[in-house]
Symmetry: C2
Subunit: 184 residues, 2 copies
């Protein structure tokens, strides 16, 4: 990749969740242009599986004004490891603890606006318990649902699961953890 | 989904690509809280296929400071239909025209921050030609690559394709257009 020649960098907006940074850079022809980056923390994405089942959640999404099906995700807090964030989010949102977490990789979440990424974990050997939702999660009316892994592709195809991060996480899980002839 | 009781709405930041809207809403307990929404246009995502091959592109991504592999995507302009945007982006970024476009559905792009979505098309019966990049695309040094469809899952699994929107688009394409026993 070529080196972008950044001339100026300025934070032009900030709230408690993200900021916007304006960068002026030099074009190949010598002129200048600007890029606006949304800066927010990386997050974790957790695929909780038990045998041939996966746990997902239905929740009200404020940004979409819709109730959608997702897997647990949430920001990695300052000083927190991705693994600790994965454990926390799974417990907060679903009330689930897991004996085994494996990191499968990461994905770029929104490359047009932001450099932030999702770090993907699979959680196994699960114990169900009580969720411990934070303020926003509490308002989202999360309902934990148990699905057969083999039914998820149809839900995606039928447009019943629409969240790109959940779709990418599920597909990555299938590619990593299910052999080709087991794929559904 | 419950009705969010929105008390105030205010645009708190704006540039030529997106804006930030602050909304104050009432919590279940009667207190109030705020949500910050990134407002940007919906976009199209195009899967260009020819027989058992798919065209993808390598490009420098300013937000990531990395060169990544993607499929063509781009914002739907004011007054433009998604189909027109799909045709335009495929031509601009890859120089490809297609006789046949089919809409497969949509995905939520970044539900934590934004309500914007990607509208997914498959493009078939392709003719290769000269790209017509806009300013940002020109700076991204786009290189068109032709891959075997059956090699893409391995590239995703190996972390060589990391863009969640490309991963979700490819998986949706496979679910819609390839029968289960043909899946790779």
């Amino acid at each position: 990749m070529k080196k972008w020649d950044i001339l100026k960098r300025k934070e032009v907006y900030k709230n408690k969740y993200f900021s916007v940074v304006e960068e002026e850079f030099r074009l190949s022809d010598g002129k200048t242009s600007k890029y606006y980056l949304v800066k927010s923390c990386d997050f974790v994405s957790v695929v909780p599986v038990e045998g041939e089942h996966i746990y997902m959640e239905k929740m009200d999404r404020y940004t979409l004004r819709r109730r959608i099906i997702e897997i647990p995700m949430g920001g990695i807090e300052e000083g927190e490891t991705p693994l600790a964030a994965a454990k926390r989010e799974l417990k907060e949102e679903m009330g689930i603890t897991a004996k085994r977490f494996r990191k499968l990789g990461f994905f770029d979440a929104s490359k047009g606006h932001s450099g932030h990424k999702g770090v993907l974990f699979v959680a196994e050997e699960l114990t169900l318990g009580e969720p411990e939702p934070d303020l926003v999660e509490k308002e989202s009316n999360i309902e934990v649902i148990k699905l057969k892994l083999r039914d998820v592709p149809d839900l995606i195809r039928q447009g019943k699961i629409t969240d790109s991060h959940t779709i990418a996480s599920f597909y990555l899980y299938m590619l990593h953890c299910k052999s080709p002839n087991k794929q559904v």
